[in-house]
């Protein structure tokens, strides 16, 4: 048997004649955290629904730890914890009651239910909320209950659809470290819009657009692209852009909205020192030089708007920078 915890094989889902997801295949190993990225309506949630058996794929199959989701759904679902986009909370129950029901439905043996509930509460920081009605909890705490529900039976695969939506920064940090912690022993699939989040918690990234997989690879590949090709430089006296572009290794320079210069670097070149020297020589008043932080978004946009013209990509870049 293979050591893959999740195998998606040529998943396709048709709505009417339109393919919401087409031909998506990937594998996930134990101990990996997979980030699932894509613009709105790209098919992220549909894919997740298919992985968890909430939606039957039109074509293709899903295997969880080698168990086929279609042929043997009960066994496969035992191995999964799922937090859908809309939190499936019964608001008339207290946190304890709800988690007990979740544990019972996921076949946690009777004697261990109490312990499982305690552990899940502790991991999600819900200890002091035990007796509160879910209805009365804040948005962020409800989200935590949703996550607690997904991990209560200690599943092999945890699938979280936008887990950090609606949380405050401290909670987001907690949830990220929780995801990392779960990811050590199990496999986690996280979908999100927030790119830095992917960089922080995931070691594998997939970008999906219009139902098709456009990128599937390690986070290092994305990071390399992010580090490499752009610099953001601040000058007190803004120089002629043509002068900057003349420096060796610089392929292009442009002015940003807040009077900084964004420099596109040629592949493999390292013109930082040359830029500093030129700035000193010409008295441009250099005060900042840093890698351009928006480039992960650029990567995303380049990948998802491949078919569009270069201008749209440029325009989006500027809007993200602003």
């Amino acid at each position: 048997m293979s050591d893959f915890t999740v195998e998606a094989i040529e998943l396709t889902r048709l709505y009417g004649g339109r393919a919401a997801v087409s031909d998506v295949s990937f594998n996930l190993k134990k101990g990996q955290v997979l980030g699932f990225l894509g613009p709105n309506g790209a098919g992220k949630s549909t894919t997740m629904k298919m992985l968890t058996g909430n939606l039957a794929p039109s074509l293709g199959s899903v295997k969880i730890c080698g168990v086929d989701m279609i042929e043997n759904p009960k066994e496969a679902k035992k191995l999964i914890g799922y937090l859908p986009e809309m939190r499936p909370l019964y608001k008339e129950f207290t946190v304890d009651e709800y988690l007990t029901i979740a544990a019972r439905l996921h076949n946690v043996p009777g004697r261990q239910i109490k312990k499982a509930v305690e552990v899940a509460k502790e991991r999600c920081g819900l200890g002091h909320m035990s007796k509160r009605l879910i209805e009365n909890l804040s948005n962020g705490y409800q989200q935590r209950v949703g996550i607690a529900q997904a991990i209560i039976h200690n599943p092999m695969v945890v699938i979280l659809d936008e887990p950090t939506v609606g949380l405050d920064p401290v909670q987001i940090r907690d949830i990220r470290s929780l995801i990392k912690e779960i990811g050590k022993e199990h496999s986690v699939i996280v979908s999100t819009h927030i790119l830095p989040e992917v960089e922080m918690v995931c070691d594998h990234v997939q970008i999906i657009d219009q139902g098709k997989m456009v990128f599937n690879g390690g986070i290092e590949v994305l990071k390399r692209q992010r580090m490499g090709n752009k610099l953001l430089v601040g000058f007190n006296k803004t120089p002629e852009l043509a002068d900057v572009a003349k420096i060796k290794g610089v392929s292009n320079a442009e002015l940003t909205d807040n009077n900084m210069v964004r420099i596109r670097v040629e592949e493999g070149a390292e013109p930082q020192e040359a830029i500093v020297k030129a700035a000193v020589k010409n008295g441009w008043g250099l005060y900042q030089i840093a890698p351009d932080q928006t480039s992960l978004e650029d990567v995303f946009i380049q990948l998802t708007y491949q078919d569009g013209t270069q201008e749209t990509a440029e325009a989006s870049e500027e809007s993200t920078a602003a």
Partner: protein, 248 residues
Amino acid sequence: MIVSIARKELKSMFASPMGWVILALLMFAFGTYYLNGVNNYFEVMSGAIRPAERVGVTQFVGQGVYGLASFIMLFAVPLLSMRLISEERRNQTLPFLFSAPLSIVEIVVGKFVGLVVFLSILIIYIALMLFTLNLWSDIDFGYIIANSIGLFLLLASFSALGLYFSSLTAQPVVAAIFSFISLFVLMILDRFFAGDPSSTMAQLSFMKHFQSFAGGLIDTADIVYFLLFILTFLILTIRRLDADRLRG
């Protein structure tokens, strides 16, 4: 697993005031009818001169209470069954059940069992209430048991139909209205065909089949009718939920 779902349903029934209020109101109504029956018994019976007009106290009181129960449940069951699936649909909690290791059959049967257990509380209560007549009279236990079985099957059929309508919509109120209308039609259907006792349409009516139980007769044909009715609507519900998964 059916038990876990049923427990969850019962718990949520009692988590809101809805369950308690309905139970209390119904108990009050049945209690009132029971008391009236007991109070009126001697008055009516002393007026009945011919022996053929005289009935036992069990039948006299039981008729009133069970007659009221079958009628009043026509309103109560749709109110209780409406939220079973439609509210889960509206609150988007169905994925919680679908992604747990449960088959759709278990989910549907569990919800059905939960509601039937809740309604059985009433049936047991009515039976116990009538048994108290035994304190000062010799009562006909068979009559009460036959009526209880009949009422149980009737309410289970109501629940199955209510569950099906609840699975069709995301609006609990719509589900309640539709299940009430269809239950009402099924209840009074035999009245429309009263002139023709062999009519097939009349055979579909609940009342036609409940009558024999109400008279203290346990007829297997009627039991089969109710069981088939329940089975049909449970299967329809299962198919409806399965379509959710297949068609999305």
